[in-house]
């Protein structure tokens, strides 16, 4: 079972992943958290879409929903189609057949993603055995190939090692190998490099780029790091308060952000070019309470350009080709950076 050839078969007719109107509510003791509201997106084969936002924007919940890993107190509405097949509402038994085989998942912390008492080779090959019924020997062989593909030195030696014998970067590579061994159509990576050193992060991101070219899967890269998004995604999906704020080709969105939040976020990022010791741009206020679901644009309370219209109804999508945004007062073309405000 060669791990190098992209999945044989006809090129998919439509997008690999198609999410339409996804709502996820988390039922708590006395309140309901509207973690995701009305999210729609598509990812085509060989494409990497970055889902970016800060904590509390719902991106992790979205990732969990796509992986079918939401907790019991989560209520989902809307549609998630993978290769044309509807995933939302599937029973756990059927979801188990999807996870690993059709959807590969990579989480943030490689130390807790791997079972410390199980050898690497066994963990990487496990999905192949469970989902495709491969024999132990075949799985082991495939695991060795995958470990080589993800750049682990001396892959056959690593098969019999335990996770604690590997460094963080190597562990994450092993996790990626495990996620991709069944050659899933979709890879969901939730903050895959956040727990790693910056030099290791660079190596892992390079690996993702390489794998994308070799294996041709659709990738969803969930991260809070705009820099990661800029360098390694084809399209970007900006989330705020559980909703879509803006989406489009990465270069377009970064060069000419339309949604005020996107512009503000880009402005407040520290870059190497940021003038040292200068007053930094800050976004006033705090992220909203997701248990309340106020009408209108969720960013309005913090937006310098908000009007009463913004507080009325959630802005419909405005678009310019593949670039779309939900904002009544997008950033004017001439000036793509919002006013600088002092902190406090």
């Amino acid at each position: 079972m060669s791990a190098r050839a992209p999945a044989a078969g006809a090129a998919p007719a439509g997008p690999v992943l198609e999410v339409t109107g996804l709502d996820v509510d988390i039922r708590l003791r006395r309140s309901v958290v509207h973690a995701v509201q009305g999210v729609s997106l598509q990812v085509a084969a060989g494409e990497t879409v970055g889902i970016v936002g800060e904590s509390g924007c719902g991106k992790s919940t979205l990732g969990l929903a796509l992986a079918g890993l939401l907790p019991e107190n989560a209520v989902t509405r809307g549609s998630i189609r993978l290769g044309g097949r509807e995933l939302a509402g599937l029973a756990e038994r059927e979801l188990r057949g999807v996870r690993g085989a059709e959807v590969g998942i990579v989480f943030q912390d490689p130390m807790t993603s791997l079972n410390p008492t199980q050898r690497i080779g066994d963990q990487v090959g496990e999905t192949l055995r469970l989902q495709r019924g491969a024999s132990k020997a075949a799985a082991r062989e495939a695991a060795a190939e995958m470990l080589d593909l993800v750049g682990l030195p001396r892959p056959r030696e690593q098969l019999d090692r335990f996770p604690h014998e590997l460094s963080g970067g190597m562990r994450q590579r092993a996790v990626i190998a495990a996620a991709l061994i069944c050659q899933p159509r979709l890879l969901v990576a939730d903050e895959p490099t956040t727990a790693l050193d910056v030099t290791t992060q660079a190596q892992i991101l390079e690996l993702f780029d390489r794998l994308r070219q070799t294996l041709g899967m659709a990738t969803l890269l969930i991260t809070h790091d705009m820099g990661v998004v800029a360098g390694h995604t084809d399209r970007v999906f900006v989330m705020y308060a559980g909703r879509e704020a803006e989406t489009g080709g990465t270069a377009e969105v970064f060069d000419a952000p339309q949604h005020r939040y996107t512009a503000a976020l880009l402005e407040s990022i520290l870059r190497m070019e940021t003038q040292r010791k200068s007053a930094l741009y800050t976004i006033p206020g705090r992220p909203p309470d997701l248990t309340a679901a106020p009408a209108g644009c969720p960013f309005a309370p913090r937006c310098t350009a908000a009007t009463s219209e913004c507080r009325g109804e959630f802005p419909p999508a405005a678009a310019d080709g593949a670039h779309s945004w939900h904002c009544y007062h997008p950033v004017p073309a001439a000036d793509s950076s919002p006013e600088v405000t002092e902190a406090r």
Partner: protein, 348 residues
């Protein structure tokens, strides 16, 4: 009760003696306990010499295992160096009595990384900020309360929030509380260990702005430890790059980033993801994995991952050489030419 000043403080400040100075500091961790394991000792720090000046920020940047956190802890007194000396305003801490040291320590306080673990979840904000004042003593209760309110205002917390508990606050607010607590005893230096790494991007700028303001207002010095190059570049006046327990390069930020001498510094700069899609991601030049801290490579510790390593690098540890004013690096085959005079060699 006026805290007895660190001996010679005023004179030292006048003479330009650095506020905090580490000389030849080494820290070795052994497998401890009654049953000492045969595991090799871990060399967290090896011969570190650094100074932090008044009103300025010294930035320490490096990845996991470089020893920067240990450095921070030694600076603030949570750990004692195995070898070497720590001096505060010219006075050696080791030479002081326990009581004197305890008083001297109030000049250096710490701000922690994880806003969710840095505050006792069972204490109200007011009591958290008050704690250092109570420990130091000499302030009656109302005075302490007034000071707490003053500190809260300075860091941008509403007075009404003082009765709340940490769990009710966001990460950014908790870091503000951490800052207020660190400021309580009017320290001269705050050691900030990854102060914004755990915060959202948009909140980082709020806290960094706050730290800059406080620095200007109180003539504060910072020893900022971080793995994030962009934060260090923005905030520090002088940077030290660490790898596996050693300083591999140090210098002013502008120069360090414009023309790094050490290959590791170059690799760090290249590895930072830039939010500018036009820029092609640099292929990382360094290979391999971090060696174990209990068995660091011979000679230059970075040689196992360096694209320019030769056999010389395995045999001889490179000394620190000058590359410009205040700019030093330890490399046999640096990326730029060292300064004409090679006399400025500090022992490593």
């Amino acid at each position: 009760m006026t805290a007895p000043a660190v001996p010679g403080a005023a004179a030292a400040a006048a003479a330009g003696v650095p506020l905090l100075s580490l000389s030849g500091v080494t820290k070795i961790y052994r497998g401890g306990g009654l049953l000492a394991r045969a595991a090799a000792p871990v060399q967290a720090l090896s011969g570190i010499s650094l100074h932090a000046g008044a009103g300025a920020t010294l930035g320490i940047v490096g990845e996991s295992g470089c020893g920067k956190s240990t450095l921070g802890r030694i600076a603030v007194g949570l750990e004692k160096p195995t070898e070497g000396e720590v001096t505060l305003r010219g006075a050696s801490l080791a030479a002081m009595s326990r009581a004197e040291r305890r008083i001297a320590r109030y000049a250096v306080q710490m701000m922690f990384q994880d806003p969710y673990a840095a505050l006792n979840p069972r204490m109200s904000l007011a009591r958290i900020i008050e704690e250092p004042l109570r420990a130091k003593g000499g302030m009656p209760r109302d005075q302490r309360r007034a000071r707490v309110r003053q500190l809260a205002e300075e860091v941008g917390l509403a007075a009404g929030q003082l009765d709340r508990y940490p769990r009710e606050l966001s990460g950014g607010q908790r870091q503000r509380v951490g800052l207020a607590r660190a400021l309580a005893t009017s320290p001269a230096l705050i050691v900030a260990d990854e102060p914004v790494s755990a915060l959202d991007v948009s909140v980082r700028s709020q806290i960094l702005n706050l730290m800059t303001e406080l620095q200007a207002e109180h003539q504060l010095s910072y020893l900022m430890v971080s793995h994030d190059l962009t934060v260090i570049h923005y905030f520090a006046d002088h940077i030290a790059v660490m790898y596996l327990g050693k300083v591999v390069e140090s210098g002013p930020p502008a120069e360090l980033f414009r023309a790094p001498a050490h290959h590791y510094t170059r690799a760090l700069i290249d590895a930072v993801p830039q939010p500018a899609p036009g820029r092609v991601a640099q292929a990382s030049a360094i290979r391999g994995e971090l060696p174990s801290a209990s068995a660091p490579p011979s000679g230059c510790r970075f040689r196992t991952r360096c694209p320019a390593a030769t056999s010389l690098c395995a045999e001889q540890e490179p000394p620190l050489r000058d590359f410009g004013p205040g700019h030093q690096a330890a490399c046999h085959f640096p990326l730029t030419e060292p300064a004409a005079s090679t006399l400025g060699m500090e022992s490593t």
